[in-house]
Symmetry: C2
DNA sequence: AACGCTATCCAAAGCGCTTTGGAAATCATG
DNA sequence: CATGATTTCCAAAGCGCTTTGGATAGCGTT
């Protein structure tokens, strides 16, 4: 059964103090004794009780992820699983526990306060930041180390984040299309209140401006990034007097919807209509092959999870470390979904 | 800042004992005093320190989910996010923490032992059971309450699980197709070592037998359930001397691949070729509308998460409760992807 | 008036660990 | 060989809570 420090110490004829020091690598213990202790500990598979340890040390050895679930649309972000997987790997190997809280979004603030008050975590990861996100201010105030996956746009004080360069990615993607002669490019974006949506649009607008192309509101959409959303976008836009010849999609799933729409319309992707989508490189939606199916702005969200976790752990373990930030670039990977505009 | 029981007691001129009893609803405290205590506690937003509490009570108030990540294929199951979301809701409202461990699959057993030894959890959820899954025996031996999402096939002793009736679902789906006159039906299944894959195949085989149809190995595939996997399956099978007229897909993502394959081949889904897929009702892959795009065997994995969590909590809170099992049926929802066989 | 109950509160121990402040033994040093 | 410095160990307190085993006061009974 589970063996405690005290029992282990007794079985060795030593005090708990010495055993604890030996196990935790303190210097003041005879090498021979230490060896004996380590051996015995390994033999009985001793593991310190997490709760006791963290009560004594004051550190939770755990990182929290609070996932708000909107009671209205109930969408669970599909990138969530891969990000968590990446972050979780890092936590595990650093000896941290990952604790997840799924809460209705109106209770998110309370969840953070609760985690702090109960001393359940040493830091938290902030998911899916909004353009104006109150969480940054809240967490700064609470004094809990945190790292934002993404950014938010109106915060006075600096904070730590890891983001991909959404603006640059979408500017490059748009440029790529304009260079192929496309002049009517649609942007099938995510929900308006998300911060990344805003940045992607900026990149798109930058490129249009640089190419001297007009902005047409009719070619820009915001919505929950589902497959039917993509489908609807393309089937409706094709009926415009001057329909788009190219589409920028905000996710692979949306791109699937676009593709289906094109197929139903009898249009060939890459010839009649071009598509570029952002690809989070989700493990179950691979876009590979000699020539990938889609041209994408690609960036592994799993890798983002790994890096974000590493940064957060640093913030936790070295308090006073200035805000940490990291901007990941995404690759523009050319696949079969783009081509010169048809005359 | 964070206030402790002792501080709260001191500020009220009471002993920690009384405050603790008042907060935990014990009878031996004067109603007036209790009210005073509750008020003060609410005012300073007192929350008992989780670790201290669980050290004292011996209960972790936490449920573990161990997610093995294969180092070889690295696929994170897409249903994972929705299941977790469902389970998480339940845990939260029951006052339990959810702790997640992402571990390389060869270390999974160690992860369970570790969780037990450290006393980090009161129970665990077992994901993605294999046909022959060693975890059930391991966990029984460890004496840790657990619930399996799915089933495994060769375990002597009874265990608790929640599963969908995969066999029945796939039998009905196959029947539905045979009744439409299909005689060449392909089964695009998941990885062979997964338990549900086996059950689905059994359902499929049952229906073929009932319809007096021969089994053709060339029409059955196993593989990681990605979009390209579906695509490859259909494009290759169509070249068979006697190609299938209908496909059973094991997930929505696979069905997307099938659909793309058909489109590339110039075949119309629902007319030239029929498709039925299992639909886990993932929030970001909706299959709705007056006439859904796909005919599916549908069962919400989110709801499964909710129920599984409830069952697990019951096992944890009422030890000695016999093994709990629940078999959910999935609905056969008719969409636009099926039709009578073309002559 | 003495008694036993009951209601209400508290002191103290304990959960399993870490950590402070010695104590004892060993060592080098003059 | 006495002295101070090191090395090596341990007792005890403490982390924030629960819980056992009283203590005290107020109450109704006889």
């Amino acid at each position: 059964m589970t063996v405690t420090l005290k029992q282990l110490a007794a079985s060795l004829g030593l005090s708990p103090t010495t055993v604890s020091r030996a196990l935790n690598g303190f210097p003041e213990v005879n090498p021979a004794t230490r060896k004996r202790i380590l051996q015995a500990a390994a033999e009985v598979e001793y593991r310190p009780n997490t709760r006791a340890k963290s009560l004594a040390t004051g550190r939770a050895q755990a990182i929290g992820h609070v996932i708000p679930v909107s009671t209205s649309h109930e969408i669970v972000n599909p990138i969530f699983a891969d990000f968590i997987a990446g972050a979780g790997e890092t936590y595990s190997s650093a000896g941290y526990e990952m604790i997840l809280r799924i809460v209705p979004d109106e209770e998110e603030a309370r969840a953070y306060r609760d985690l702090v008050a109960r001393g359940s975590v040493d830091g938290v990861m902030v998911h899916a930041p909004l353009r104006h996100d109150p969480r940054v201010a809240l967490l700064s105030e609470l004094g809990l180390p945190f790292l934002v996956h993404g950014r938010t746009s109106d915060v006075a004080r600096p904070y730590s984040w890891l983001d991909i360069n959404n603006q640059r990615a979408f500017r490059r993607a748009t440029q790529f299309l304009t260079e192929f002669g496309h002049r009517r490019i649609a942007l099938i974006n995510g929900l308006e209140n998300m911060d990344f949506v805003h940045r992607r649009r900026n990149g798109y607008l930058d490129a249009l401006r640089e190419a001297g192309l007009p902005v047409d509101e009719a070619l820009m959409r915001n919505g929950e990034m589902t497959e039917p959303y993509g489908y609807r976008a393309v089937t409706e836009m094709v009926q415009l007097p001057d329909p788009p010849t190219a589409f920028l999609a905000s996710s692979m799933i949306v791109a699937y919807g676009l593709r289906r729409g094109l197929a139903d319309l009898g249009l060939r992707m890459g010839r009649d209509v071009s598509i570029i989508t952002h690809d989070d490189d989700l493990s179950y939606l691979p876009n590979q092959g000699d020539v990938p199916v889609f041209t994408t702005t690609k960036s592994s969200v799993r890798e983002a999870g790994r890096r974000a976790a590493r940064m957060l752990l640093q913030l936790v373990e070295e308090p006073g470390t200035g805000p940490l930030t990291q901007l990941m670039e995404s690759a523009l990977v050319v696949g079969a979904s783009t081509g010169p505009v048809r005359k």
